[in-house]
């Protein structure tokens, strides 16, 4: 009887232990929240005058099933190093040193917003250009930074999502548009197939952003044009005092163009681009690079096949000769009559 009671108590104890442990284990889990934000437009390029007031708006949305709170921050921005068309907010130190941010002129209608799922929200902003603003291009970004609700209980990482609308504001009329082509190369000088990337680096020496556009014209050893590749078709801009790297992919996928021009041997690539808004043709940037396209593996296999064929033919002929001689052999059987 005593043993039965002891077993019952043991059973209850084990059950309670499992119950308590389940709480300990579950305490390490946490709900994960997805983040999402969209905006339109993605950027603005304005031309304003000293003393002018500009009112603008942008639309934001959240495509997750849960409401997310975003802090709205107005700050100057810079380009990610060598990456044209990108924008990251300035740090406070950078902001204080920058002469061309429009942070103090720009005000968003709200400082925080809870984005309800699948609903467009309109954010208004106002830019008041000071009357004594000097000529130049000023930058400001209206950024949305997600508020983190997650608290990690173990080791790991929390994520924050930031999306902003950069605004480039030109004050004044006449700007110096000047640029230097620092690099126009291919990563190799020899390729097996006509698939390669051209790397171009341009430095903006002017006092406003530039948007270089142009073409890379390829020609073969017979000076026949084999391709004309648009340069910077997406119009990515380089901010003042910045450089921009552009990658231009060329993937022809064949050794013969539609015009029956052969894409083998030394290929010459000529870059011609313009960047000025006024009379762009007067200051083009040009460069040239030569590279080889030679499908050596295919050529090697073809040569081996040709050599092997020649050898086989010769061996077969050599083997046939004795047979021919045997026709005159005294041991040959005469044909039946």
């Amino acid at each position: 009887m005593k043993n039965i009671h002891t077993n019952i108590f043991k059973g209850i104890f084990v059950l309670l232990l499992f119950f308590c442990l389940s709480f300990v284990l579950s305490s390490k889990t946490y709900a994960e929240t997805s983040l999402s934000i969209g905006t339109a437009p993605t950027s603005e390029k304005l031309k304003l005058s000293p003393g002018q007031k500009y009112n603008g708006e942008l639309i934001v949305w959240n495509l997750t099933p849960k409401a997310i709170t975003y802090n709205i921050v107005v700050k100057g921005f810079r380009q990610i190093e060598n990456q044209p068309g990108t924008a990251v907010m300035l740090t406070d130190t950078e902001e204080s040193k920058s002469l061309y941010t429009a942070t103090n002129w720009t005000k968003a209608s709200i400082e925080k917003i809870e984005l309800i799922p699948n609903k467009n929200e309109k954010i208004y902003y106002e830019i008041n250009v000071p009357k004594d603003a000097t000529k130049g291009e000023y930058t400001v970004i209206i950024a949305f930074i997600s508020e983190s609700e997650e608290k990690l209980t173990g080791s790991g990482a929390t994520t924050t999502l930031t999306l902003g609308m950069p605004i480039l504001i030109q004050i004044g009329d006449e700007f110096v548009e000047n640029a230097e082509l620092l690099k126009f190369t291919t990563d190799k000088s020899f390729y097996e197939y006509p698939t390669l990337t051209f790397d171009t680096r341009i430095k903006n020496l002017g006092d406003t952003h530039i948007t270089p556009v142009g073409e890379i014209v390829l020609s073969n050893v017979f000076k026949q044009e084999i391709a004309r590749i648009p340069f910077n078709p997406n119009n990515q801009s380089i901010l003042r005092d910045n450089t921009g790297n552009y990658e231009t992919l060329w993937n022809l996928g064949t050794f013969l163009t539609k015009d029956k021009a052969i894409v083998l041997g030394p290929i010459k690539a000529n870059l011609v681009l313009t960047y000025r808004t006024f009379q762009p043709g007067f200051a083009p940037l040009t460069s040239e690079v030569t590279f080889w396209i030679l499908p050596w593996k295919i050529i090697l296999i073809a040569v081996i096949v040709i050599i092997a064929t020649v050898v086989i033919i010769k061996v077969v002929r050599k083997k046939r000769r004795p047979v021919v001689q045997n026709q005159y052999s005294p041991y040959s059987h005469p044909l039946p009559r």
Partner: protein
């Protein structure tokens, strides 16, 4: 002569009275009201002319008494609407229906069965002209209509002459429906309301402005337990991007917080503090002897397509991760695409971390900020 005439007259009246009393029950009309009836119009706009705009009628009736087979069902429109409902007189197309949009389920105002026919249903539309002559639609060869069953019938323009429409004036119009076979008649009159316009034009303009939508699948990921001197651990989540066709492309950059002064990385902020560092640039190998560090890789969302992952974050060597830098000043590009991305494109972010033998026990965390945008 006068007396005989009076007698003859009296006898005649008596005979007629007796005859009337005997015969009159034969002509008794069994008239009643329909239990339920509705007329559903596919358009409720006034002045539908039946040619440039057409209308269909669905009639549902439930009689209070059984109407024997071979009878008719007639829809009569108001006297003032001549040639409005029956635009062109003639044969109409008629067919029994077992349901309609206007059915009110579980009530008598829901069609139970198609209207039966004694041979083949026919419908004719006749125009009214002047006072006491109304537009009428008569359905003939109707089968037995059993009381308690709601029958449905659809009437549309005939293949030749018959054309139906709606009255020219908006507002209420009294419509009578009668089911009849001989003296057995059930009928009802109800109002039908026409509006001047039954179409709502919804307009919108799809803006041509560039747009970008950026998403992260989770706001927190756990690396589980790291063991000093043990192997590296990984955990992942996804980032996703969509743009409008007018957008020049998108980019993602990221940076960490680290210990707030030296490097990004997993940081133990409580005493004794310790940083499992990310070196700020290049890659971090976590497979070497007593290697320690934190980094991440990004998968190419379209493998050879327009999206590109910079070399540091796309090293395919197991245990090699791209190093993160600290603060917004150290933001590094991790994924970009020149050109629009119409459908959502996912890239997997994989974090890798390894604790060296000197790492202090405790909870470590890093706050990774992802910056997303469309090119300007």
């Amino acid at each position: 002569m006068k007396k005989s005439g009076l007698i003859t007259g009296s006898i005649s009246v008596l005979v007629l009275t007796i005859c009337f009393v005997l015969i009159s029950p034969v002509f008794t009309s069994k008239a009643g009201a329909l239990t339920a009836a509705y007329l559903y119009l596919s358009r409720i706009q006034s002045n539908i002319n039946g040619s440039s705009a057409t209308v269909e009628y669905v009639l549902a009736i439930d009689t209070a008494q059984t109407i024997p087979s071979g009878g008719t069902v007639t829809i009569s429109f108001p006297d003032g609407d001549d040639a409005g409902w029956c635009r062109t007189a003639g044969s109409l197309t008629v067919a029994g229906v077992s349901s309609s949009t206007a059915d009110y389920a579980t009530t008598n105002w829901a069609i139970d069965a198609v209207m039966p026919t004694s041979s083949s249903l026919t419908a004719v539309c006749a125009q009214g002209a002047g006072v006491s002559s109304v537009d009428k639609i008569t359905i003939s060869n109707v089968g037995t209509l059993t009381a308690g069953t709601t029958y449905g019938v659809k009437i549309t323009n005939g293949s030749a002459a018959g054309v139906i429409g709606t009255a020219s004036a908006a507002g209420e119009h009294d419509v009578s429906v009668e089911a009849k076979n001989g003296a057995t008649i059930d009928s009802s009159t109800f109002g039908l309301y026409l509006v001047a316009s039954d179409t709502v034009v919804v307009s919108a303009t799809v803006a041509a402005v560039p747009s970008v939508t950026c998403s992260i699948s989770t706001s927190a990921v756990s690396l589980g337990s790291l063991y000093p001197g043990g192997s590296y651990a990984t955990v992942n989540h996804t980032i996703s991007t969509t743009t409008s066709t007018t957008t020049s492309g998108y980019y993602w950059a990221s940076y960490g917080a680290g210990d707030g002064s030296t490097d990004a990385g997993l940081y133990k902020s409580t005493a004794t503090t310790y940083l499992i560092a990310s070196t700020g640039s290049g890659t971090i190998g976590l497979t070497g002897v007593n290697a320690e560090g934190f980094g991440m890789t990004v998968s190419d969302p379209d493998a050879g397509g327009a999206a590109t992952v910079p070399a540091d974050f796309s090293d395919g060597t197991a245990g090699t991760f791209g190093a993160l830098d600290r603060t917004v000043a150290g933001a590094q590009l991790i994924l970009y695409q020149n050109g629009a991305q119409a459908s959502a494109e996912n890239a997997t972010i994989t974090y890798g971390a390894r604790a060296g033998t000197s790492a202090v026990a405790g909870s470590y965390s890093e706050s990774v900020t992802f910056v997303c945008g469309g090119y300007y």
